[in-house]
Amino acid sequence: MSHTPLSPTGALSVITFRNYTTYKRHWKLFVTGFLEPVFYLLSIGIGVGALIDSFTFNGQQIPYAAFVAPGMLAASAFNGALMDSTFNVFFKLKYEKLYDQMLATPLTTADIARGEIVWGQLRGGVYSAAFLLVMLAMGLVHSWWAVLALPATLLIGFAFSAVCMGLTTYMTSFQDFDKITLAQLPMFLFSATFFPVDAFGDGVLRWVVEATPLYRGVVLCRELTTGAVTSASLVSVGYLVVMGLFGLWLVRRRLDRLLLT
């Protein structure tokens, strides 16, 4: 007989292939997700940026757009990851019973958790890669460190995809997603995406913002594309790795609880 059960990486690639096959039909939906951060870059970064004479970041003068762009880069990974790990996962779990189908085969809940999280991560990664090219074309990349920006966005995608998929397993109806939307917009606007975190002063608020995951992603991307990398960058990396691993653990546990009844 020609088959042996899949290894974890084999399972990952098969689940990814399944998701890719379904997306071939929905490529327009796919493209719109990419455009949003680009529009923000153009309207806020370039448009509003034209009103700002000089902008100092990290002791050096940079165009305002070069400050906003890495924020949007992180946001594109964040948005992309959320699209698949929330609504789509909920639909597959509760309505399509896709994971029940997969569990009738040698695939395990761990395979499903990894496969779906990585898919969300990849979607964010594709958006980020495209966005990075836009940044390059517009002259908004100022350091060779930027080659690490893509892995950084994959890390952001992993962290959000994993935790959001974990939260999604607790949802009981589509209304519950209002909570995610409610958290998504302020995170997008206030994670030092459009203005530096100093604007929050030195109080608790700043401390809160600095502890949120998208902020960690935004500063990490900004440090890389502007070349302001320090050992503090590792804090962000560590934060996002731990967040992603926690999400992975949670998803696996929740799928066991929900599906293996």
């Binding site: 007989m1 059960p5 292939f17 096959t21 189908q101």
Partner: protein, 323 residues
């Protein structure tokens, strides 16, 4: 098949005993509710084994434990000689599962449902493609290969689900209510396909609440009710053990059956009162009818038929299979 399975620890055992499934005092609880209350089952290689019982009997709960997706609450369960708690993926690699509700992938077209499902088993692309084409043929869906799943009729979806469960050439095929919701013609087409699989050496486990399906398909079956097994045997053995050769059905006016039952009680071995008719169990139905008329009783309609599994169920549980 032999070279791939030779490494599995359970196979030697299963081959030696010829046992595909062994359950001892198998139980399943959901919270405080016990859906399966301690059953013993042995399914032998190559047979069609049935679980016959009404809705809520615990058939699906049992099937999900056998499919190695639902943890056993207590008792012992071995599938192909392996323990589902520890060897889930290895067991599932050799099972075909057709769940009670069709769980097709609506985001994929018909042929991709087969192809990608095969890939979940780790079957290489070329083989998946080949088998998908064969199975479309088997399920009479070749001309629907590129159709969306949601555009298929109920019968087509069921055939696709069954075809999909065969993609890994399973040794053991689990079918949970395979024909529920299908029209009579579609049911016969399915039965015919299941016979062909049996002939090809596949062991089949079928649940059903249709007694005709159980009689047609099963070599052996258990009658299940309220989480327990009430009887076990071949359809013929069960009928011989729990019913008479024939049944005389007598239909009187509405509400008269209860009263008339006493007047015919001595004519057969046993009389059952249903809301719309009386069943007199006997080895000679025509003789019973003659005596009924002799006693001046005038049923609106009469029928003499052979005993069925429905009668066995009625005898064992006091209730009808389909309410």
């Amino acid at each position: 098949m032999t070279d791939a399975t030779a490494h599995d620890p359970g196979t030697a055992h299963a081959l030696a005993t010829g046992s595909m499934i062994t359950a001892r005092d198998l139980r399943k609880s959901f919270g405080t509710f016990e859906a399966v209350k301690g059953i013993d089952v042995d399914v032998r290689r190559g047979e069609v084994f049935g679980f016959l019982g009404p809705n809520g009997a615990g058939k699906s709960s049992t099937m999900r434990m056998i499919a190695a997706v639902s943890p056993v609450t207590s008792g012992e369960l071995r599938i192909l000689g392996m323990d589902p708690a520890t060897d889930g993926p290895s067991i599932r690699a050799r099972l075909g599962v057709c769940p009670q509700e069709d769980t097709l992938d609506n985001e994929l077209n018909v042929v991709d449902n087969l192809f990608i499902y095969g890939r979940y088993f780790g079957i290489d692309r070329a083989t998946c493609r080949e088998r998908a084409a064969e199975l479309l043929e088997f399920a009479n869906l070749t001309d629907k290969a590129k159709a969306k799943v949601e555009d298929l009729s109920g019968g087509m979806k069921r055939r696709l689900t069954i075809a999909r469960s065969l993609i890994n050439r399973p040794e053991l095929l689990l079918l949970d209510e395979p024909t529920t919701g299908l029209d009579p013609q579609a049911r016969h087409v399915l039965w015919d396909q299941l016979f062909r699989l049996k002939q090809a050496g596949v062991t089949l486990v079928v649940t059903t609440h249709y007694m005709d399906e159980a009689e047609q398909l099963c070599d052996r079956l258990v009658v299940m009710d309220k989480g327990l097994i009430a009887a076990e045997g071949s359809p013929r053995e069960l009928i011989a053990a729990h019913s008479t050769r024939e049944v005389a059905e007598l239909r009187f006016g509405v509400g008269e059956h209860e009263a008339i039952a006493d007047k015919v009680a001595d004519l057969g071995e046993r009389v059952e009162v249903l809301p719309d008719r009386l069943l007199v169990y006997t080895d000679d139905g025509e003789h019973v009818l003659a005596q009924v008329h002799e006693r001046g009783l005038t049923p609106v309609a009469t029928l003499v038929r052979r005993s069925s599994l429905e009668d066995v169920f009625l005898r064992l549980t006091g209730r009808s299979l389909v309410d």
